[in-house]
């Protein structure tokens, strides 16, 4: 299938992602930050679709926007926000933050300018019909051991969360 107006959609989704990302770090209320982060994550799922990665886009929506962000909102509602709202939300590290961001940006720009030759202009289309199938075959084939370790990691995370969040074991 031929892609439609990819440039417009790229800039639209990129603007949504950036607006969400900037709102996350500028809002004072953590609930607003969480909602902005959800918008950024959903727009990023759209970008994954544009990059012919439907499986990753689905996992992004289900796991990030549906799982992790719900967890965040639950924790925000568990803690007393009225009291922490009155505290100062930003610390006095503006200078350090700007310096770090500038250094990081300079690094990225240097790499981008010097390594322009290794980034070809056109992205060739890959087959998206069999994307999920091939990822599944690779996960249960070459990456079997990694997959099992990931499941073990999740088990450890579940047990650790229960142990730490419970008042009395």
């Amino acid at each position: 299938m031929q892609p439609v107006a990819t440039t417009f959609f790229f800039y639209f989704l990129a603007a949504l992602t950036l607006a969400g990302g900037v709102l996350v770090i500028t809002r004072k209320n953590p609930v607003h930050s969480a909602l902005a982060l959800i918008i950024a994550l959903l727009a990023q799922a759209g970008l994954y679709l544009m990059l012919y990665a439907p499986f990753v886009a689905g996992v992004q929506i289900i796991l990030y926007a549906g799982g992790i962000m719900v967890l965040f909102l639950f924790v925000i509602m568990l803690v007393n926000l009225e009291r922490s709202q009155r505290e100062e939300q930003f610390n006095k590290q503006w200078l350090l933050g700007i310096i770090a961001a500038t250094a990081l940006g300079a690094l990225f720009i240097t790499i981008f300018v010097r390594g322009r030759a290794i980034f070809p202009v056109h992205i060739a289309a890959v087959a998206e019909e069999s994307n999920t199938q091939e990822i599944g075959l690779m996960l249960y084939g070459n990456y079997m051991f990694t997959f099992e370790i990931a499941s073990l990691l999740l088990l450890v995370a579940i047990i650790g969360a229960v142990v730490m969040a419970k008042k009395r074991i």
């Binding site: 994954y48 992004q60 503006w94 202009v121």
Partner: protein, 100 residues
């Protein structure tokens, strides 16, 4: 077609947003959200490179990054609840002792 460099620039800016938020915020929950923002910036560049070189390995790596992010968010939020229960604050400047 949108060139790869646009995606990389977007991912770099997202990562930079996460770094700034991590440094300037005091609320521990928002600091956590900044970490998620950084992870997402990295994920975007993984997927962009995977599409560029027709390699599915990048997408599989993103899958594992998401698994680690989920585990990290679970444990981290449990720590936030434990910290809030003992200290009644979410301000990282006031959580400066390991022992009460």
């Amino acid at each position: 077609m949108v060139p790869l460099s646009n995606y990389l620039a977007l991912s770099g800016i997202l990562f930079g947003c996460g770094v700034i938020g991590f440094l300037i915020k005091r609320n521990i929950i928002t600091i956590f959200m900044s970490i998620e923002l950084m992870l997402n910036g990295v994920n975007l560049s993984f997927v962009a490179f995977a599409a560029q070189w027709h390699a599915l390995r990048g997408q599989i790596f993103v899958f594992f990054v998401m698994v680690v992010a989920a585990a990290e968010a679970t444990v981290g939020l449990a720590i936030i609840i434990a910290v809030y229960r003992t200290r009644e604050t979410l301000n990282v400047d006031r959580v400066n002792l390991l022992k009460l």
